[in-house]
């Protein structure tokens, strides 16, 4: 299997006033097609900087980043935008759905920035993506009519619609309760195992990392640990083993 992304000696420095802050001090790792990678680390570990660089929102000060064979370093602002549009599907902690806009239209959004996709094509692909996250019946609901977990699933559908080489999730379960988190992770595992999607999941929760196939632990801007997960936990089983919600009683 080929590498979907390769990182070599990646460094990122910020100039704050007269000081230079080194957020990443030489990070190297690669991700193969079909992997489910979690990047872990406490705050200040360089996790967010790593995520921005992986998402092509930011560029490294030095070192190499190859995404699907493309060297990101040589690209300008517009080319980076095009690259994000074609190769990356973002899932954010705060969902970032457009308010007062239907689920279907939210999912369509990345395709609006792609040339040559017809109106019907866009609609069909968005519908397919919504089916993958099992929300096809809610296509005309606006975010305010959906629960947090459903909103995140719409966001995942939006990340899937442009058929990216990699789904990049940033604390995607951070705003959700345990049950809904496990639901989202079940969906992520399904996408990874059944649909062979490469997923990079940034989180600081160890129990979320247990569902992935490999964990990279960052600390103070370097890779502290890079371990494959021999015993991948099934999110579906974890979900089923949860006690029935006692938050409210159904009489």
């Amino acid at each position: 299997m080929g590498f979907i992304l390769e990182i070599k000696e990646l460094k990122r420095e910020f100039v704050v006033g007269s000081q230079i802050v080194r957020a990443l001090k030489g990070v190297s790792f690669s991700v193969e097609t079909g992997e489910f990678l979690t990047i872990m680390g406490s705050s200040g570990s360089g996790k967010s900087t790593m995520l921005n660089i992986l998402g092509c929102l930011d560029k490294a000060t030095s070192g190499e980043y190859l995404l699907d064979g493309v060297n990101v370093k040589q690209l300008d602002r517009d080319a980076l935008a095009t690259l994000r549009n074609k190769k990356i599907g973002f899932v954010f902690q705060a969902y970032n759905l457009l308010p007062r806009t239907s689920a279907l239209e939210n999912v369509e959004l990345p395709l609006l920035y792609q040339k040559g996709v017809s109106h019907k094509d866009r609609r069909d692909r968005a519908m397919t993506a919504l089916e993958q996250v099992k929300l096809a019946d809610r296509y005309d609901h606006t975010p305010s009519q959906l629960s947090g977990g459903q909103q995140q699933r719409v966001a995942i559908a939006r990340a899937l619609v442009n058929e990216p080489v990699m789904i990049l999730a940033d604390e995607a379960t951070g705003n959700l309760d345990t049950r809904t988190s496990y639901e989202i992770m079940t969906l992520m595992q399904e996408l990874n195992q059944d649909h062979k999607k490469t997923i990079v999941f940034v989180t600081h929760e160890p129990d979320i990392a247990a569902f992935s196939s490999r964990t990279v632990m960052l600390r103070d801007g370097i890779v502290q640990r890079d371990t494959p997960n021999a015993n991948i936990k099934s999110a579906r089983e974890a979900l089923n083993s949860l006690p029935v919600s006692d938050d409210y009683q159904i009489s």
Binding site: A81, N85, N96, Y113, G116, S118
Partner: protein, 415 residues
């Protein structure tokens, strides 16, 4: 293929902008309001201005657009330094009329003019008016026509006959019992006149002057029997066409100067005015008013534009996260810029369309309710519409550029 791609992205752009506006309908409408009011008032003001200008021109051509009026004029102070009004200055005589008739080309009719104010009396009724002593050609010069009876003849001029032609207002005030005035005797002062004709009514002109309060008699009668003078107060002439009036004016000036034996360098002792001059003078006053009103209306259009800019800035700040999201899923800086620019132009163009409709409605309402003449010119619609589209581009540009330059990382984190 390329055209198809471009077309596709333009449609997408319109779709994105339209959806964004739909999310905030009330705000979009309030932003439009400035533009709507601006465009509507520009169109209304211009239509009122254009309408009054046309109605003034119409009044003058109704009074005889080719009419040339000569009046006595003397800028030389009398001994003792007193200057006299035109009516008191006595320089024009019947010989001037004869010379003008003989020598000036390009005129179709000439009439002397003398007038005397006084009371017209019939039985128990009386009416204050002024008697105009003129020749039969006067009717042609002033575009008047006889409704009943006849005009007076050259024969009656020679005889200084005591006959007169009266306007509808005089008829209404003297003949209250509905008697046919033609053939009746009225008195002007102490002199009896036989009414031989009634003029067709013309109504009021734009300045509110009653054009039917008129009493015409042979000039010889007025000069000899009423005023006992040999001097004229006016000479009226009619140029063959509006274009010929300026050449005819020059010839009249030269003829009368010769007749008055004025040497080169001596000032004219008379003044010649054409209707065209008057139209121009009054027309320029009216177009100055129009310009002024339109400028005020234009200012409200600019204020409307500033309103758009203000709202677009607020919108960019408020939608920072949305901009960040759009950038992270592949929108380039220019996509974001075009989106906000399109939104601004959509607001201004929609506002412009509503404004044009409102302006036309307002103009029609004004002309119906207040019976002011209004003329909606196509140019006013096109100009105000173009101006408001440009306003959208101009005031939408800076907020749009600001949005496009946002850093996606910071925009995504914006709270």
């Amino acid at each position: 293929m390329i055209i198809k791609l471009v077309k596709m992205s333009v449609i997408n752009l319109l779709r994105i902008a339209l959806k964004a506006l739909q999310r905030n309908k009330l705000r979009a409408f309030l932003t439009m309001l400035g533009i709507i009011i601006g465009v509507a008032s520009v169109i209304t003001m211009m239509s009122i201005g254009e309408g009054s200008k046309q109605s003034i021109t119409a009044t003058f051509s109704n009074m005889g657009a080719n009419m040339i009026t000569v009046m006595p004029y003397n800028n030389m102070p009398m001994p003792g330094g007193v200057r006299l009004g035109a009516a008191s200055v006595q320089t024009l005589t019947l010989s001037d009329v004869t010379k003008v008739k003989e020598n000036v080309h390009n005129i179709s009719a000439v009439s002397p003019g003398v007038s005397s104010s006084g009371q017209a009396i019939k039985g128990a009724n009386n009416w204050p008016t002024s008697m105009q002593g003129v020749s039969p050609d006067y009717l042609f010069i002033r575009k008047l026509s006889i409704a009943k009876g006849t005009n007076f003849t050259d024969e009656q001029i020679r005889e200084s006959a005591k006959v007169c032609v009266i306007g509808q207002t005089v008829v209404d005030n003297l003949f209250t019992n509905g008697v046919n005035p033609v053939g009746q005797i009225i008195r002007f002062g102490k002199i009896p006149f036989q009414v031989i004709g009634v003029l067709a009514p013309k109504g009021q002109n734009t300045f509110g002057q009653d054009q039917d309060d008129i009493l015409l008699a042979p000039y010889t009668t007025v000069m000899k029997r009423v005023l006992a003078t040999i001097y004229l107060q006016n000479i009226y002439a009619s140029a063959v066409s509006e274009n010929a009036s300026s050449g005819a004016t020059d010839e009249i000036i030269q003829t009368i100067r010769d007749n008055h034996h004025l040497r080169a360098g001596v000032e004219n002792d008379f003044d010649v005015r054409t209707q065209a001059d008057l139209i121009q003078t009054i027309g320029s006053t009216s177009s100055m008013m129009t310009t002024l009103l339109t400028a005020v209306a234009g200012i409200s259009l600019v204020i409307g534009g500033i309103g758009i800019m203000n709202i677009m800035y607020v919108s960019v700040t408020e939608r920072t996260r949305e901009i960040g999201l759009r950038m992270s899923i592949g929108a380039r800086g220019k996509d974001i810029m075009w989106q906000f620019l399109t939104e601004a132009v959509m607001i201004s163009i929609t506002g412009g369309l509503i404004g044009v409709t409102l302006g036309i409605t307002a103009s029609l309402t004004i002309s119906n309710l207040l019976s002011w003449p209004t003329i909606i010119s196509e140019s006013s619609i096109i100009i105000s519409f173009l101006v408001c589209a440009l306003t959208g581009v101009f005031f939408g540009y800076y907020p749009a550029v600001k949005a496009s330059q946002l850093d996606p990382i910071e925009a995504l984190r914006y709270e």
